[in-house]
Symmetry: C2
Subunit: 528 residues, 2 copies
C-alpha cells in the first residue's frame, strides 16, 4: 500500500480549467482527488454524483498525470497553481519505469525509499501550501456554500480544507501508508491475525510470524510519525491550533474503502467504514470491431490480457524480450498494453497496444488469464470477471495484494526481477490448464459479485447521507475522546492493581499484628 500510494501521489493532483460560474441550486460537493489510478475510481463516484443532480467541483493542481477536465463531463474542474512543473512531475515518476524491473540491494532499497519518501512529502506539502495560502481561491471556495468535501486522504489538503471550511468529509481510498487510516478510525487491528504491510504474513501465523508482525506494527507506528510530520506541521500552522493529521482524519464522517474480504483478510471494522471493493469493475463501451475480431480469432485457446498498471506502460528492451519470447510459445492470443520499443518479429499471437479496455477484455468469454502487477483496480477486475491471474508485483502494496490473491488459489506470483520465458510459460499454463485455478476463481468471483447493493450505489448513498444529515455523528465512536492509555484501560488496570496491592498489604499487616499480639499473649500466659 505504502509505496504504491506514494507513487500515485508523486504526480499530485491536477487540473483542467473551469472557473466558478454563478451559484446554482442543489447540493454542492467539493472533490479533491489524488492523481494517478486513485483518480480513476474516484472519478466514477464524482461522475455519478453529478449525474444524480449534485453540483460537483473537482479541485486539482494545474499539473496532472490523469485528471483531465472536459466540458463533456457532468462535473466542473478548477485548477490551482503549484510550485512545480509538468517536467518536474514527469521526472519524479520516471524512476518508476526504470528501477522497478531490477533488484536493488536491500540496504540501497531502504535508503532510496526514505529519500523518495522525503522528496515526495516535501513536494506534497509545497503543493498543498500553494493551495491553502491562495487566498483568492480559498475565499471563493468559502463563498460557494459546499455541503460536503469528498477527498482521498492520501494527501492532506482535503482534510485541512474540510476543517477550515467546516465541511463534513467523505474519504475515498484503498488504504493509507503505515495504517494511518486504521489508527484515525480508532479501528482495532490485532497484530496477532491482521498481517502488517510487507510482512509476507497471511492471517494464520505461527509464533515467530506473530512476533515479526507485532514488531512491524510498532515500526509502522514510528514510521507514521516520520511520514506525516510535515502534514502535521502544515495542518497545525494553517488551522492555528495543535492538531495532528491523524486527529484531522479522525473527523471524517464516512470512509469509503476500496476493498472487500475477497481480497483482504477478515478483520474488525468500525461503523463508519463502508466497503466498496470492486467499484471500478464497470464495463466501458464494449470492444471495437478490430479488437473483437482479434479476440474471437483466438479460438478455443482464448486470450491473455497483460498490463502493468497506469503508471508503467513500458519496460527495458531485454525484459520485454522475455515476454515476447514467452508469448510466442503459448497457444493463446495476447493483448499487451505496452508503449516501449517493439522487436522486429513480434509473435503473430501478440497485439501490442498503448491503451487497452482492460475490464471489457477480462469480461470477454475468451479471457483465460490476466498478467498484472497486482494493483487493486486490476485485481478487482480480474476477480469480478473471474479470470485467473499471473502476478508480477512492482512496488508498494502490490506484493501484499499479489500474495493475498495467490493464497486463495486463483493466481501465481512471479518475481519481475527473476522472470524468465520458461517461468512465465509455466505460470500461464498452470493458471489456464490446472482447473483448480479457474474453479477457485469462479467461487471467489461469485462471492465478490454476490452483494445486496452495488458498490457505486453504496458509495453514492453514504455520500448523500452525509450531505442530508450534515455528517454521520451517530457512527463516530467515543474512542476519539480517549488517549492511548485510557483507550487500553491502562490507568484503570494500574489503579486496580494499587487497590489490590493496598488491600493485600493491609490484610497482611493486620494478620501480622494479630499474630504478634496472640504470640505475646500466649507467652505472657506461659510466663504467668
Amino acid at each position: 500500500m505504502l509505496s504504491t500510494s506514494w507513487l500515485w501521489g508523486l504526480g499530485l493532483w491536477l487540473c483542467v480549467c473551469g472557473g466558478f460560474p454563478g451559484p446554482v441550486q442543489g447540493d454542492r460537493v467539493l472533490a479533491m482527488p489524488v492523481d494517478g489510478s486513485h483518480w480513476l475510481s474516484m472519478k466514477l463516484l464524482v461522475k455519478e454524483l453529478a449525474v444524480r443532480g449534485h453540483e460537483v467541483l473537482v479541485l486539482a493542481p494545474e499539473t496532472s498525470l490523469l485528471i483531465q477536465g472536459s466540458e463533456k463531463q457532468p462535473y466542473r474542474t478548477e485548477s490551482f497553481p503549484v510550485p512545480y512543473t509538468a517536467a518536474g512531475l514527469a521526472q519524479s515518476t520516471e524512476w518508476l519505469r526504470e528501477s522497478v524491473f531490477y533488484r536493488t540491494p536491500p540496504l540501497a532499497e531502504i535508503t532510496t525509499n526514505v529519500e523518495r519518501l522525503l522528496n515526495f512529502t516535501s513536494t506534497q506539502v509545497r503543493g498543498c501550501e500553494a493551495l491553502l495560502y491562495n487566498r483568492p481561491l480559498m475565499e471563493r471556495l468559502r463563498g460557494q456554500d459546499f455541503q460536503l468535501l469528498l477527498t482521498d486522504p492520501f494527501l492532506p489538503c482535503g482534510s485541512i480544507i474540510a476543517d477550515a471550511l467546516a465541511l463534513p468529509a467523505v474519504y475515498f481510498l484503498r488504504g493509507m501508508p503505515c495504517g494511518l487510516d486504521v489508527q484515525a478510525l480508532q479501528c482495532p487491528s490485532p497484530p496477532s491475525y491482521v498481517p502488517r504491510y510487507r510482512s509476507d504474513n497471511t492471517d494464520r501465523m505461527g509464533f515467530l510470524e506473530r512476533a515479526k508482525n507485532f514488531v512491524m506494527s510498532g515500526v509502522e507506528l514510528k514510521l507514521c510519525g516520520v511520514m506525516y510530520a510535515s502534514f502535521d506541521e502544515l495542518a497545525a500552522r494553517y488551522l492555528g491550533r495543535q492538531v495532528t493529521y491523524r486527529e484531522l482524519l479522525g473527523q471524517g464522517a464516512v470512509w469509503l474503502l476500496r476493498y472487500d474480504f475477497t481480497l483482504e483478510y477478515p478483520r474488525p471494522l468500525m461503523p463508519n467504514m463502508v466497503l466498496i471493493g470492486g467499484i471500478n469493475c464497470v464495463r466501458d463501451h464494449g470492444l471495437s470491431a478490430e479488437l473483437e475480431e482479434f479476440v474471437e480469432g483466438s479460438g478455443e485457446h482464448g486470450i491473455v490480457v497483460f498490463t502493468l498498471g497506469s503508471m508503467v506502460e513500458s519496460m527495458p528492451a531485454e525484459k520485454a524480450a522475455i515476454f515476447f519470447s514467452a508469448f510466442s510459445q503459448i497457444p493463446q492470443r495476447v493483448l499487451w498494453r505496452y508503449s516501449g520499443p517493439v522487436p522486429d518479429h513480434v509473435p503473430g499471437n501478440v497485439k501490442v497496444m498503448k491503451w487497452l479496455p482492460q475490464n471489457d477484455l477480462l469480461a470477454h468469454p475468451k479471457a483465460r488469464a490476466f498478467i498484472t502487477h497486482g494493483g487493486t483496480h486490476g485485481i478487482y477486475e480480474g476477480i469480478c470477471n473471474g479470470v485467473p491471474m499471473v502476478m508480477m508485483p512492482l512496488f508498494g502494496d502490490q506484493n501484499d495484494n499479489a500474495h493475498r490473491v495467490a493464497h486463495r488459489g486463483v493466481a501465481v506470483v512471479l518475481s519481475i526481477f527473476d522472470v524468465t520465458s520458461e517461468a512465465l510459460v509455466d505460470a500461464l499454463e498452470k493458471v489456464i490448464n490446472d482447473s483448480s485455478y479457474m474453479e477457485n476463481m469462479q467461487k471467489l468471483s461469485a462471492i465478490h459479485n454476490d452483494r445486496p447493493i452495488e458498490p457505486l450505489d453504496l458509495a453514492v448513498h453514504w455520500t448523500e447521507f452525509v450531505m442530508r444529515h450534515k455528517g454521520a455523528d451517530h457512527l463516530r465512536p467515543a474512542a476519539h475522546h480517549l488517549n492511548w492509555i485510557q483507550y487500553h484501560s491502562l490507568d484503570v488496570i494500574g489503579f486496580l492493581l494499587v487497590v489490590v496491592a493496598t488491600v493485600v498489604v493491609v490484610m497482611i499487616t493486620c494478620c501480622a499484628v494479630c499474630l504478634r499480639r496472640c504470640c505475646r499473649g500466649s507467652k505472657k500466659t506461659k510466663k504467668d
Copy 2:
C-alpha cells in the same frame, strides 16, 4: 439484554404440528426460533424466505407462548415433545406479571435472579435434550437435506443441531446475555468506551465509570462461565468432543443483529455482523374503522400509545389506578394494551384493548407519545415512526435500552416502582410539548430510516448468500484459531521482554568484564 432474553426464552420455543411431507425442490431452511418477542421479528424473515420460494421448516417445542403454526403461513411447523407442560411454562413466566412492578431489596434481587437463571437454564437444557435425543425426529431432519439452519442462538439447540447436521448457521438475535455473542464473534469490545450491561454508563465515561465498566466486563466473563456451563456440557456430551457453546457459536456463518447505531453506541464490528435494526418496523393491515375513528377523534391533541410488551399485559390494580388517574388529566386520547381489571370509571379518553396494532398506531399522524417498557421492538417502532417516548423499563436489557434512547433526547425514563400520576403527566407533557423531543426524534428517525437497503431485504440477502456459497468463510477472522494469550500477543510480548532483558544483561556483563579487565590491567601496570 440478559434477563429479557431469559424471560422470552422461559417459554421455550414451540409449535403447531405439521409433519414432514415428501422431499420437494428448492433450498431448504431449518428454522429454530426462540419463543416470545424473539419469534415476532424472526417470523418476518422466515415468512419472507418462504415467500421467495425457499422451503422453510420451523422446529418448535410442543408447548409455546407465541409460535403458532397455521396452514395459512407459507412455512411449515414441526413440533417436538418437551418434558414440561403448558401450565408449568405459564407458571414459570407468571412472576413477570407480579414482581416487576415492585422494588426488591438488592440482595434479594440477586438471589432471585440466580435462582431464576438456574431454573431457566435447567429447563432449557431439558427441552434441548428432549429434541436432540429424539432419534426418529433427528433422523428425519438428517434426511431432509437442509441447506441452512436459521436460529436465535439465545438457546443452544440450533447451534448443536447445525454442527451435528453439518449445516451452515445464520443467527438472528438482539444480543446475548453476558456478551457471549461478542466473544464468540471475536469482536473487540474495549471497556473504555463500550458500556457494559446494566452499568448505567454511556459511551463517554469518566475515570471511575471506566473502572466500573472494566470490572463489570470481568464479571461478565465469569458470569458467562456460570450461565453457559450446562450448555457446554450438553454440547460436548451430544457432539462427543470437547467443545464449548462459545466455540460452537463461533462457527456461525452470518449474524443478523437486530440493532443499529441509532440505539447502540458506535463500537467495532466484525465482517460477518449484519445490522438489521428496525426489521420489525413493518406496517400491518392498517387500523380498523373503529380504531381510526377513535384516533381521528383525538383532534389536535392526538393520541398516546401505551404497551408494556408481549409478556406483560396486565398489572396490579393499584398500579393501574395510577395510570388511569394520569390519563384522565391529559388532553390526548390513550390506547392501552391492558388485560387486567378495569375500574368502574374509565376516563373517556382511554381505550383499553387486549391487543393493539402498535406499529400502525405509532405510524398514524396523530401519534404524539409512546409509553413503553423499552424492549427493542417497541423502541424501533417508536424510532422508525418518529414518536417521542416515555419509558418504564421492567427487566433485562430494557433499562439499558431506555437510558440509551433518553441519552439522545427523545425520551424520558420513569421508574415503574415509584411512578405517580403527577410524574407520568409531567413526563407526557414534556415529551409532547417540549419541541426538542420531537425535533430530536425526527432527526433520529430520519437517520434510522435513511439506509441503502431495507433490513428485511438485507437479512434475506445474507441468508440466501450463506445457502448459495455453503457458508461465508471469507468473512471468518483467523482470530478463531488463537487462544486468549495468542490473540492479545501476550506470549510475543513476554518473549520480546525476555529477549530485551537478555540483551541488556549480556551487555552489562560484557561491560563489567571489560571494566574489570581494564581496572586489573591498570592496577597491574601501576604495580609494575
